[in-house]
Structure formats: structure tokens, C-alpha cells
């Protein structure tokens, strides 16, 4: 027998040792079966064997150490198995070998053997998706015939050897997702046949060598997610075959060289997340094949060139987070394939051109945070495919186009913080999930037709001049989680239907209106609601309907005409005074008319008088600003400490000073260290015990704000409660409730055996699962924790689990705009080794 060809034949079992006796075999292909067990050493006796193809099986154990005996071997493919151990050094005897592919064996360890340089006939070297570590050996330069080197997603470190320049036949160099450091050797410019150069996600420093411009066969350059500095080489202009240039998430500076527009084959140009300045070359229109251009998060200035409209295939354009000025060129909307146009957070001015209506392919349009003026053109209603429309935080005036309902695919509509007038359109697109029209000058009543928006999850109409009553039809918006009608002129009774919306969980704000009457008894059904603000209305009666809302984190009923006894629950007892003040008839059980409450009301009256006097003396704008600041201060209880420039924010009533805390940050009080800081147990003078996390350094401000932003906006019984935070120039502190029982990790692995019973463990894990399900599915946008591990599951006195450490947490949908880019992920790569999913292991540190 000379040939054994049984690929994809559903064979299972082991490779028999006896195969070593078939001495005449020249060709073995057993790939794509279900073979398991080890590769028998005996196979190495087949000295005439030219092809050994065992890929795509379940083979385990080592690659036979005497593989070097297969002196006639030309093709060796062992990829996609479960092989472990190292690559045998005897491989150097395989001088005829042309194809060596052993990738996809995740437990294959050790270095690329130096001896590989002896396999001088090698054409393909594949070691991807293994645990290969160490340097790429300089002997690689001896491989004069090598065309493809694929060593991606491994643990390769060190720098790329200069000798790579001697691999004169090299076409494909795939070294992405490693820990390669050092700079790119200039000798790479000698690779005249190089087509694909993929080096993304490494730790490569230095500049991009100008010499690369000599590799005129290059089709794809991807160096994203490295630490590259300097500018984009002008020599790239010589790469007439270049289709993809990806340099996202580096530290590149300088300009986008106009020479790049000579690369007329270019379809994808991604230079986002760098420090590139200057103008976008006006001749960019020469890139006639361009489909995707990302340059967001740079320092670009000047105008958006009209010439972009010549890139007729352009599908996605993202120039957000730059300093671009001038108008949006109307010619852009002649692009028939444009689906994503993202220009947010620039300094763009002028009108939104009516030509926008011609660009019917548009799916996602974000022009927010610019200085756009004029109206929202009614032509926008021609955009039948539009899914996401965000023109918030501009200077737009006029009405919301009444025919907006023609945009049948619209799901997100954000027009907040403009100067829009007129009423909320009667007919809105039926698939809308989010409507934010807040902070405008809208008038009129809210129509009954609001009930037809059955997909709506968030409705924010706050800070307008809307009046009338809330239509009972709001009940049909059964997916509504957030309803903000605050700071309007709504009146009448609060309809019971508001409280019957089954998914109203996040936020109900009816404050600063003219609502009257009693709180409907149906409010007792808002069991999942987190924040309720009824302040500054004319509501009367008792608060009993609110006594059972055990998911409430924040409640404000101040400045109404509520009467009667305050519900006697821990939540109400801990409410800050400021959330109850201004209700004459409200009292706490056993305390007839508490003096401090009266006093507080006195202060509030004084405050109102001051505001009134301002009203009489200055412009309305200033007053709005003042009221705004007052509301903000009221919401977060912000206290500015005079002495050491501390900013202290507490989310609930607590009686301690920064001094009480700082004094106790001693080594004897340390109870743990986390990824971002040290945790202390601190007992303040009134006896309350807190856990205080002191961030490692001010460099941890990312983790600090991440923790504040996520934890302050969510509430769940299995998620640690953030009580507040303090920040000074030198120190950042986070305050949590103190949990006495330690972490799940100490429960499992600690010395005290204690209650590690199955039932306890199971209950803990169900609680953690609930917390994560809440973050992923009930928060909008959803939140990723990013560092789930046993040490971050804290336990209460009855072993109730609390998910903690949100320093790595992130909003999931912030990445929405970059789904076809690797870009945004790099800054977020974090987590704990051993708990991270495969493919996220490759950390810089």
C-alpha cells in the first residue's frame, strides 16, 4: 500500500501502531475524522512518507519526537487537534518539508524551535492559535522559499527579527494577537512580494517604516491596536494594490498624507483612535473604491471635504470626536450606498441640508453635539431605512417634522437639547424604542396616540412646556421602562394607568409639574421601580401607596401637599430630609412636628425667595441654569468640602465626614485588594461600618468613573450598593455597604470551612446569575461587568451574594457604531486571568 486516503470518512478510534509496518506508504490522509488518542511513534518509521495529513481530529499527546525520521516528508498537517507538548527539535531533519501546519492545538507550548531554519524548503508555516511563546527565531531568515507565516493568536513575544527581510518569497505575514514588542524592522521593506501584513493587537512601538512603501504588492496592512508613534508614511502612496489600511488605536500623529489618495484600490481606511491632526486631504475623492472610512477620535480640523462625495461606493463614514468645522457638505447625501454617517462631537455648523432626503440608504445618522442650526428638514422623512436618528445637542429650531412616521424603521429618535418648538407629532414611527425630546421648547398636549408606540422602552419629554394630562393610553406602551415628564406644565390627576405599565422599572419622573390629587393606589404595584420623583407638584393625601416599593433607590416627594404619617419602613427612615421637605402635613411616627423639618422648609422657602429675586433681575436663561444646578445638587447631595478641596457625593443620608474616613485608612484596617485599589473596613463615629476602596493612583480614574457611572445608575439586590464617593487631587475613594462574610472565593478556598454547603453555593450562584441577567438584559443600554470572578462576589451576613468591583464595567452598546472595527475593544481589554473567555487572553501586561 502506498496511499491511504480516508479523509472525512466518519472514522473514529485510534491510529493503530501497526501503521508503522506499511513501509511503502507515501501518502496518508486521515483528516476530518474523529480519531483520538496519540499519534503512534511508529508512524515515524515510514521513511518514504511524503504527506501526513491528520488535521481536524481529536488527537492528543505530543507530536512524536522522532518525526525527523520522516526524511521524505513534504506535507505535515496536524492542525485542529488537541495536541500538547512542544514542537520536536528533530523537525530540523525534514529538509524536504514544504508545508508545516500545526495550528489550532491550543495546548501546544514552547518556542518556535531555532532549528526550523533548516527546513529550507518550507513554503507554509502555520502555528496559529497555539500556546507557542518566546521570540520568533532569527533563523526564520533562512527560509528562502517561505510564502506564508501564520503565527497569530499565540503567546509570541519579543520583537520581529530583522532577518525577516531575507524571506524574499514571503507573501503573507500573520502575527496578530500576540505580545510582540519592539519596532517593525526596516528590512520588512525588502519583502517585494508581501501581500498581507497583519500585525494587529500586539505591543509594537516605534514608527511605521517608510521602507514599507517598497512592498508594492501589499493588499492589506493591519497594524491596529499597537503603540505605534510617528506619522503615516507618505511612501504608502506607492501601494497601488492596497485594499485595506487599518491603523486604528495607536498613537500616530501628523496628518493623513495626501499621497494616500494614490492608493486607488483602497476600500477600507481606518485611522481612528490616534492623535492625527490637520485636514482630511481634499483629494480623498480619488479613492473611488472606498467603502469604509473611519477617522474618529483624532485631532482633525478644517472642513469635511466635498470630494468625499466622489467615493460612490462609500457605505460607512465616521469622523466623530474631532475638531471639524464648517457645514456638512450636501453632496455627501448623493452617496447612494451610504448606510452609516457619524459626525458626532465636532464643531460642525450650518443647516442640515434638505438633500439628506436623497440618501435613502441611510440606516444610522448621528450628528449630535455639534453647532448645527436651522430646522430638522422634512425631507428626512424620505429615509425609509433610517433606524437611528440622533441630532441632539445642536441649535436646531422649528417643528419636529409631522410626517416623521414615514420613517417606518426608526427605532431610536434623539432630538434632545435643541430649541425645537411646536408639539410632539401625533403620529410617530411605530417601531420606536427610544424617544428623547427633552430640553426643547415643545408645547401642547401629549396625544392619545402615544399608546400606539408599543415597542417604546424609554420616553423622555422632560424640560419642555407640555401641558394637559397624561393620556391613559400610555398603558399600551407595555415595554416602557423609563418615563420622564419632569419640568413641564402637565396638570390634573396622575392617571392610574401610569402605575400599571408592567415594565416601568428604571425611572418615573413627574417632578416640576402641576399634578394634583392623590397618588393612585395602583402605585403600590411599581415593585421593580428604582427611582421615583414626584417632587414640586400639588399632590396631596398619604404616601401609603409607596410604602411597599422595595426596589426603590431614590424617592423624592418634596414640595407637595402630602399629609399623614410617613410609612414606617427602613427605606423611608433613611430618606434624606431634602426628599421629604415642603410637605406641611407629613410627619414621622412618634414625632409630632420635628423641628429640623420645619427648619429645612424654612431654608427651602428662603431658597425660593432668592430664586424669585433672580427671576426678577436677570435673564430667563440664567435662571434656568440656576434651577438646573439646584436640581442637580439636590439629586446627588453633592457637598463641596472647603478645606482640602474634597468633592464628596453621597447617594443616601449618611453622617460622616471625609476626615472620619481618611483617618481610618490604615494598614490594620485593610480587608482586601482589588484590581484597582485597596479596600478598608471603616467604622465612622455614629457606629456605621463601611467598606472604602482607595484607588491605587489617580491613573485609575477610568476604573473610578466606570464604577461610579455603572453603580450609581443601577440597583439590584445582588449587586453591591455604592453609598457614595469622595475625590480630591490626590485621593479617590468609593464607599460601599460593608459585607461581613467575605467573598465567595474565601468561602470556597479559605481556611474556615464554615458554610460551604451545596445549598449555600447554589443559592449564591443563582443570585450572581440574577445580577448578571439584570445587567445584560434589564439595563438599557446593557452593562458588561468585565471582571466576573469568585473574589468579586461578596457575601452578606446570611450569605446573600453581592456582585462587586465594577471598575472594568462598560456599556455594551457604546460599541454599536464600530461593529465592523476591532478598534474600540482594545482600551476595554481587561479582566482576570483564568476567568476570561478564550480569545480575550492576550493582555499587554
Amino acid at each position: 500500500m502506498k496511499i491511504l486516503a480516508l479523509s472525512t470518512a466518519n472514522i473514529t478510534g485510534r491510529i493503530p501502531k501497526e501503521i508503522g509496518d506499511c513501509k511503502e506508504l507515501t501518502f496518508i490522509d486521515l483528516s476530518g475524522n474523529s480519531l483520538f488518542g496519540e499519534i503512534p511513534e511508529e508512524i515515524c518509521r515510514l521513511s518514504k512518507l511524503q504527506t501526513l495529513a491528520l488535521h481536524a481530529n481529536f488527537l492528543e499527546g505530543n507530536i512524536p519526537s522522532s518525526i525527523g525520521n520522516l526524511s521524505s516528508l513534504v506535507n505535515l498537517t496536524l492542525y485542529d487537534n488537541k495536541l500538547s507538548g512542544e514542537i520536536p527539535k528533530s523537525i530540523s531533519s525534514l529538509t524536504e518539508l514544504q508545508v508545516l501546519r500545526v495550528g489550532g492545538n491550543t495546548n501546544l507550548k514552547g518556542e518556535v524551535p531555532w532549528e526550523i531554519g533548516n527546513c529550507t524548503n518550507l513554503v507554509v508555516l502555520g502555528l496559529a492559535e497555539t500556546s507557542i511563546s518566546g521570540n520568533l527565531p532569527s533563523s526564520i531568515g533562512m527560509l528562502k522559499r517561505i510564502q506564508t507565516i501564520a503565527i497569530y493568536t499565540t503567546l509570541l513575544s519579543g520583537s520581529i527579527p530583522e532577518e525577516i527581510g531575507k524571506c524574499s518569497e514571503l507573501q503573507n505575514l500573520y502575527l496578530y494577537q500576540n505580545s510582540i514588542s519592539g519596532s517593525i524592522p526596516r528590512q520588512i521593506g525588502e519583502l517585494s512580494k508581501l501581500q498581507n501584513l497583519l500585525l494587529w493587537q500586539n505591543n509594537i512601538v516605534g514608527t511605521i517604516p517608510e521602507e514599507l512603501g517598497s512592498c508594492t504588492q501589499l493588499e492589506v496592512i493591519d497594524m491596529s491596536e499597537n503603540l505605534l508613534t510617528g506619522s503615516i508614511p507618505t511612501s504608502f502612496g506607492k501601494l497601488s494594490n492596497l485594499q485595506g489600511l487599518q491603523l486604528s488605536v495607536n498613537k500616530l500623529s501628523g496628518i493623513i498624507p495626501p499621497e494616500i489618495t494614490n492608493c486607488t484600490s483602497l476600500t477600507q481606511l481606518e485611522v481612528d483612535n490616534n492623535a492625527i491632526s490637520g485636514e482630511i486631504p481634499p483629494v480623498i475623492g480619488n479613492l473611488r473604491s472606498l467603502t469604509l472610512f473611519f477617522a474618529w477620535q483624532n485631532k482633525l480640523s478644517g472642513k469635511i471635504p466635498d470630494g468625499l462625495s466622489q467615493c460612490q461606493d462609500l457605505q460607512a463614514l465616521d469622523l466623530s470626536y474631532n475638531n471639524l468645522t464648517g457645514p456638512i457638505p450636501k453632496q455627501l447625501f448623493g452617496l447612494r450606498n451610504l448606510t452609516k454617517l457619524l459626525l458626532l462631537s465636532n464643531d460642525l455648523s450650518g443647516f442640515i441640508p434638505p438633500e439628506i432626503g436623497n440618501c435613502t440608504s441611510l440606516y444610522r445618522l448621528r450628528l449630535n453635539h455639534n453647532r448645527l442650526s436651522g430646522t430638522v428638514p422634512s425631507e428626512i422623512t424620505n429615509l425609509k431605512n433610517l433606524n437611528f436618528l440622533d441630532v441632539s445637542s445642536n441649535h436646531l429650531v422649528g417643528e419636529i417634522p409631522p410626517t416623521l412616521s414615514r420613517c417606518q424603521n426608526l427605532e431610536f429618535l434623539d432630538l434632545h437639547s435643541n430649541s425645537l418648538t411646536g408639539s410632539v407629532p401625533n403620529n410617530l414611527p411605530k417601531n420606536l424604542q427610544l424617544i428623547d425630546l427633552s430640553d426643547n421648547r415643545l408645547t401642547g398636549e401629549l396625544s392619545h396616540s402615544i399608546g400606539s408606540l408599543t415597542e417604546l422602552a424609554k420616553l423622555n419629554l422632560g424640560k419642555n412646556q407640555l401641558r394637559g394630562s397624561i393620556p391613559a393610553e400610555i398603558l399600551s406602551c407595555s415595554k416602557l421602562q423609563l418615563l420622564d415628564l419632569g419640568s413641564n406644565s402637565f396638570s390634573g390627576e396622575i392617571p392610574k394607568e401610569v402605575a400599571q405599565i408592567p415594565s416601568l422599572e428604571i425611572f418615573l419622573n413627574l417632578s416640576y409639574n402641576q399634578f394634583s390629587g392623590e397618588i393612585p393606589p395602583q402605585f403600590s404595584g411599581l415593585k421593580k421601580l428604582g427611582v421615583l420623583d414626584l417632587s414640586h407638584n400639588k399632590l396631596s393625601g398619604k404616601l401609603d401607596a409607596l410604602s411597599d416599593l422595595h426596589n426603590l433607590v431614590s424617592l423624592n416627594v418634596s414640595f407637595n401637599d402630602f399629609t399623614g404619617e410617613l410609612p414606617n419602613t427602613p427605606f423611608f427612615r433613611n430618606l434624606p430630609l431634602s426628599d421629604l421637605t415642603g410637605n406641611d402635613g407629613l410627619y414621622i411616627a412618634g414625632v409630632a412636628t420635628p423641628a429640623d423639618r420645619k427648619e429645612a422648609r424654612g431654608h427651602a422657602r428662603m431658597l425660593m425667595k432668592i430664586i424669585l429675586s433672580i427671576l426678577l433681575s436677570t435673564s430667563a436663561v440664567l435662571v434656568l441654569l440656576t434651577v438646573h444646578i439646584l436640581i442637580r445638587a439636590h439629586v446627588s447631595n453633592k457637598v463641596l468640602m472647603g478645606n482640602n478641596n474634597w468633592v464628596l457625593t453621597l447617594y443616601q443620608k449618611s453622617e460622616f465626614s471625609v476626615d472620619d474616613i481618611v483617618r481610618n485608612l490604615t494598614s490594620s484596617n485593610v480587608i482586601g485588594t482589588g484590581s484597582s485599589g485597596v479596600v478598608y473596613k471603616v467604622t465612622v463615629p455614629n457606629g456605621q461600618t463601611l467598606a472604602v476602596k482607595k484607588m491605587w493612583s489617580s491613573a485609575e480614574s477610568g476604573a473610578f468613573t466606570s464604577e461610579i457611572q455603572t453603580l450609581s445608575s443601577i440597583r439590584h439586590k445582588n449587586i453591591i450598593k455604592l453609598l457614595g464617593w469622595g475625590s480630591s487631587k490626590n485621593m479617590k475613594l468609593l464607599f460601599y455597604e460593608y459585607l461581613p462574610t467575605g467573598s465567595l472565593s474565601s468561602l470556597l478556598h479559605g481556611s474556615g470551612q464554615g458554610k460551604a454547603e451545596w445549598e449555600t453555593r447554589y443559592d449564591v450562584m443563582v443570585g450572581v446569575a440574577h445580577a448578571l441577567a439584570y445587567l445584560h438584559h434589564d439595563c438599557e443600554p446593557s452593562i458588561l461587568h468585565g471582571d466576573v470572578k469568585a473574589m468579586n462576589v461578596l457575601l452578606g451576613p446570611g450569605y446573600q451574594p453581592y456582585l462587586a468591583d465594577f471598575g472594568q464595567a462598560r456599556i455594551a452598546s457604546e460599541n454599536v457604531d464600530c461593529t465592523n472595527s476591532k478598534a474600540l475593544q482594545r482600551p476595554y481589554l481587561a479582566g482576570s486571568y483564568g476567568y476570561m473567555a478564550p480569545g480575550t487572553f492576550f493582555l499587554p501586561s
Binding site: 447554589y762 443563582v766 438584559h777 470572578k789 469568585a790 476567568y835 473567555a837
Partner: protein, 112 residues
């Protein structure tokens, strides 16, 4: 490269579940076989048709058959969560449902 998504949290959750079931650290150099990786160790053990109850935390042994059954069902859930391909991992909502199912049979678990 794999995108960081909810499924990355699901994987980590699966690792914690394995840790709870086996009583071993996710990176445990004392694991039999020398692999030091808990997920891989469990995978290898199951792939080689080993008795799944052998990998349970010794502190959890000697329990009633029904309790051991619960642990093994939980092991199955954790195994799903640590699937290599993110699309093979369940969502957290599904994970909650599966976990609750495991002990619901014995009477409502109203701890939470």
C-alpha cells in the same frame, strides 16, 4: 479576534460555577495532569468519559443522590457557559432559567 460582549461575562460566570462545584481555583497548579487550567481539566475529564462526580469538591461528597444530581446538572450548565465559541454560550437570562430549574423540583427556592 473575539468581541467583548455579554458572552464574555457568561464565560467568566461559567468558570465561577466550575470553581464552586470543584472547590478548585481556575488556575490550579495542583490539578491532576499538570494542566493548571480548571476549564481544560474539566473538559478533558469529561471528554475521556470520566465519572463527572469525581471532579466535585471533596467537601461536597457523600450527599444524597438527588443532591449529587443537582450538582451534576449545575455542572452541565457551567459547561455550556464555558463553550469556546461565544455563540454556543447561553444568555444570562437562559442561565438563570436553567439554574432555577435545577432546584425548583424540590420545592420553591424563595431565598431570593
Amino acid at each position: 479576534m473575539q468581541k467583548i460582549t455579554e458572552k464574555s461575562d457568561v464565560y467568566s460566570f461559567g468558570v465561577v460555577l466550575l470553581e464552586v462545584l470543584t472547590g478548585r481555583h481556575p488556575l490550579d497548579p495542583t490539578l491532576p495532569g499538570g494542566g493548571a487550567n480548571l476549564v481544560q481539566w474539566v473538559r478533558n475529564h469529561l471528554a475521556s468519559n470520566g465519572d463527572p462526580s469525581d471532579i466535585l469538591d471533596p467537601k461536597l461528597r457523600g450527599r444524597s443522590d438527588s443532591t449529587v444530581h443537582e450538582m451534576l446538572q449545575t455542572l452541565a450548565v457551567s459547561f455550556l457557559c464555558v463553550s469556546t465559541r461565544p455563540e454556543d454560550r447561553p444568555t444570562m437570562k437562559d442561565t438563570v432559567a436553567m439554574l432555577r430549574e435545577i432546584r425548583l423540583v424540590e420545592g420553591p427556592n424563595q431565598r431570593s
